[in-house]
Amino acid sequence: MSIVVCAEQRDGSLRKITFEALSTGKRLAEASGETLKALLIGNGIAGLADELKKYGVDEVAVVDNAALGAYTADAYAAVLAAYVAQENPALVLFGHSSFGKELAPRAAAKVDCGLVSDCIDINFADGDYLFKHPVYAGKAIGNYKVAGPVRMATLRPNVFPIVESAGAGAVVNFATDIPAAKVTVTGTMMASGDRPELTEADIICSGGRGLGGPEGFKLIEALADALGAAVGSSRAAVDAGWREHAAQVGQTGKVVSPNLYVASGISGAIQHLAGMGSSKVIVGINKDGEANIFNVADYGVEGDLNKIIPALIEKLKELQ
Amino acid sequence: MEFVYSDEERMMLQMARGFAEKEVKPIAKEVDKEHKFPAANVKKMGELGLMGVSVPVEYEGSGMSNICYAIAIEEISRQCASTGVIMSVNNSLACDPIKIFGTEAQKKKYLADMASGRKLGCLGLTEPNAGSDAANLQTTAVLDGDEWVINGRKIFITNGNEADYCVLIASTDKTQGHRGISAFIVELDNPGFSVGTLEDKLGIRGSSTAELVFEDCRIPKENLLGEIGKGFKVALTTLDGGRIGIASQALGIARAAIEDATAYAKERVQFGKPIAQLQAIQWMLADLSTHYEAARLLTHRAAYLKDQGQPFGKEAAMAKLMAAETAMKAATQGIQILGGYGYTTDYPLERYFRDAKITEIYEGTSEVMRLVIATNVLK
């Protein structure tokens, strides 16, 4: 049997989460003795197969079809289900990205199998897979088992390490009927600028009510640019209209786990922590020495952000 | 006996708490600091049915119980006692007397306008020489043809600066003492009416406390509320009900102080551990919580009796007395638990402290509450 990774590409380039999933798949395949396969779906994407080989895949199955140009969950799910029917894998992995969040449950319903979403760890021990998935916005972690034969899981981005390894790397075509999609994509608007996407970013600089107004975010943006970081926000700043909701980090916003999270003018409410508590390193900048953010920050800087951030930007520039 | 919420009480609690946290809390500090009447929230409260909670649906109220009313006032006052009193005065002091004593026509017009939140109400009772001794009022109403002509001044009137209607208590026959007192409904866009001094106050600074000036203020004959000479009864009955509202306001303030102090005590570390682990702090919180629960039971019992149509004057007085003193104590000790931080305006405890004090004064001082209770006990 096999472990299958459903590769995610957008506009002809593979997303980082795919490498994270492949690396995890490889580790699990070695523990369970399965083979590692990747399924690559899209239009004009066959060339991407080579890149997948770097992560130890034994086989890449490619479904390259004009009808699959724009991603639609129902059509992609049909392809995936057909592949699963042929392959009968023990485990299928997706990223917990907007792609995987929608496609995985749709495919799981078609295949009629169990799925654990948003995993932060998966292990194989005593002949079974064990999935860790945070619940209640990270206030608890559930350890799940899934009755087979097929299991599915989506992986939280930025949590699983990327490890390159060798594999047979055969490339095969997979042909199947592609149903007409039920939805039509009539437009796509990507946020402008070269800042990384929030859930994929290695570094995030977030601002809250303490910024005092929308202009305050100029400071956060400048810091983000100095660090090559994405910009996030607390809900208070979103509710005040200083930032769009897509930037909100927290229980009712995005869940992120960057290597470095810099929270400026954010008090550290429990709902905010729910979205960034799993960051590897947290820096809190706050003028209130009692602010809750200091209870979780690895480095707490007590003081006025209007003085600290400009100085910090200067210092970072000196380094470059 | 049952001590559980009904479905509607639970839902009302959830709604009022959500509204108070999302809409009332964020502006509470500003409302206090800037003396700002929270007009937008008062309008929203009208739309949600909070301005006429126990007014029947046929008069555009919400048709809910007085227990629901008490719960709602507490939730709003938990975040902002100014908003709480604005709501309490409209419900208890303006809607209630018309609901109880008004004619059908008065209810269709004035009660419906105020219960729906289209118009705001106030009660004009207190005068410079008539505070606790309300019967000593000097304002007069004289019948002249089809109109009453009103002269005099009222002071300390909550909502006085924004209200559209006033339930006014005035003398129609000075020779009769409190038997010569009658109640009226006055529309305040009347040319014979003006707003005088606005008080600058220690607390509840978001609610206006105004002087109402009546100079040959002519109102239609049919705006008499209840019978001639029975106005003092209207006032006393109204205040009995109002005390359930003020008790609930005090409960809200007490809870705010207890909750904030509890949260702080768990976080503030001194001598290497959170101060919540010090017995001195624990005992304060234990006592305050006990007083709060007791006051709440008294308040809800008074509301229950009112819902049942039973006498509740003594119980309402007990509830207000206990809740007001609990609020004051909770705010005082709440500040104590926060130490120096509690004394600054960075934390809302000092606001709770200033707001709590009024609950021991208006709608009958704590001394007057004891008087009412004693009279009942001794009779």
Binding site: H133, G138, Q271 | -
Partner: protein
């Protein structure tokens, strides 16, 4: 129009999580609310009815207490409610829930024009039921929707995707999963709360739906829950701004190695 909103009752987001001796999460003393994203779904359902006429049916799978959540939605303005309640559904996984909902919506409550759900529940954070349900009902789905318009039997939805958004068009009936931003959720008014008491709330068991316990046996089983390791407060940097900043940059570079 027949408009359906699927909701879930969840813990209050402030709730403290306690893991019981059995390794399961205890709900004792926890305040329960309508899942915040589902409130957007119910709000959109009611607005759709206000614009187009018809009725709003709220449905959920849950226990006794779930009736409170349904009543809350009725107080907001939904017309009637259906609760699927069965001992066999206690601890049900997303698959089981979507099977029960799909059965209800394809038979007893068939004939809907649009189904609204939240984009995920804040308790298990799985975000599976909406897409599973769409698949089972063979419907188009717009996921993580922040804007929606309906016209001529078609839905046009703006969906949040990683790093941007896209616009999808689909024929009705369709399933719409609501994200924050789709609308401003109303509070139930007090008259609304009073009316909710008299609105119909139907409780159905699995056998009422024609399902057996085997049909909904969970495939995903929570072996045990645990509390995450507490994050500890780290170092506090104090001093003059320049010093502090220099210290911070040094630590990030040399100790944490993140820049």
């Amino acid at each position: 129009m027949k408009i359906v909103a699927c909701i879930k009752q969840t813990f209050d987001t402030e709730a403290k999580i306690v893991v019981g001796g059995n390794g399961q999460i205890s709900d004792e003393g926890v305040n329960l609310i309508v899942n915040p994203y589902d409130e957007f779904a119910v709000e959109e359902a009611i607005r759709t009815k206000e614009k187009n006429g018809g009725e709003v049916v709220v449905v959920t799978v849950g226990g006794d207490k779930a009736q409170e959540a349904l009543r809350y939605c009725l107080a907001m303005g939904a017309d009637r409610a259906v609760l699927i309640q069965d001992a066999a559904m206690v601890g049900a996984d997303s698959r089981a829930v979507s099977i029960a909902l799909a059965k209800l919506l394809s038979e007893k409550e068939a004939g809907y024009d649009i189904i609204f759900t939240g984009k995920e529940a804040v308790d298990d954070g799985a975000a599976q039921v909406p897409s599973r349900l769409a698949e089972k009902l063979d419907l188009a789905q717009a996921n993580v929707v922040t804007a929606l318009s309906l016209a001529d039997g078609k839905a046009t939805a703006t969906c949040e995707i990683d790093g941007g958004s896209e616009i999808l068009e689909m024929a009705l009936p369709a399933l719409i999963s609501a994200q924050k931003g789709l609308n401003e959720v109303r509070y139930p008014s007090l008259p609304g709360i009073m009316k909710a008491k008299r609105k119909p709330l139907e409780v159905l068991s699995l056998s009422d739906l024609g399902l057996s316990a085997d049909d909904v046996a969970s495939k995903v089983v929570l072996a045990a829950a645990e509390l995450p390791p507490a994050r500890k407060a780290g170092q506090r940097l104090t001093g003059e701004v320049d010093e502090v900043v220099a210290k911070l940059v040094k630590l990030l570079k040399e100790e944490a190695k993140v820049i």
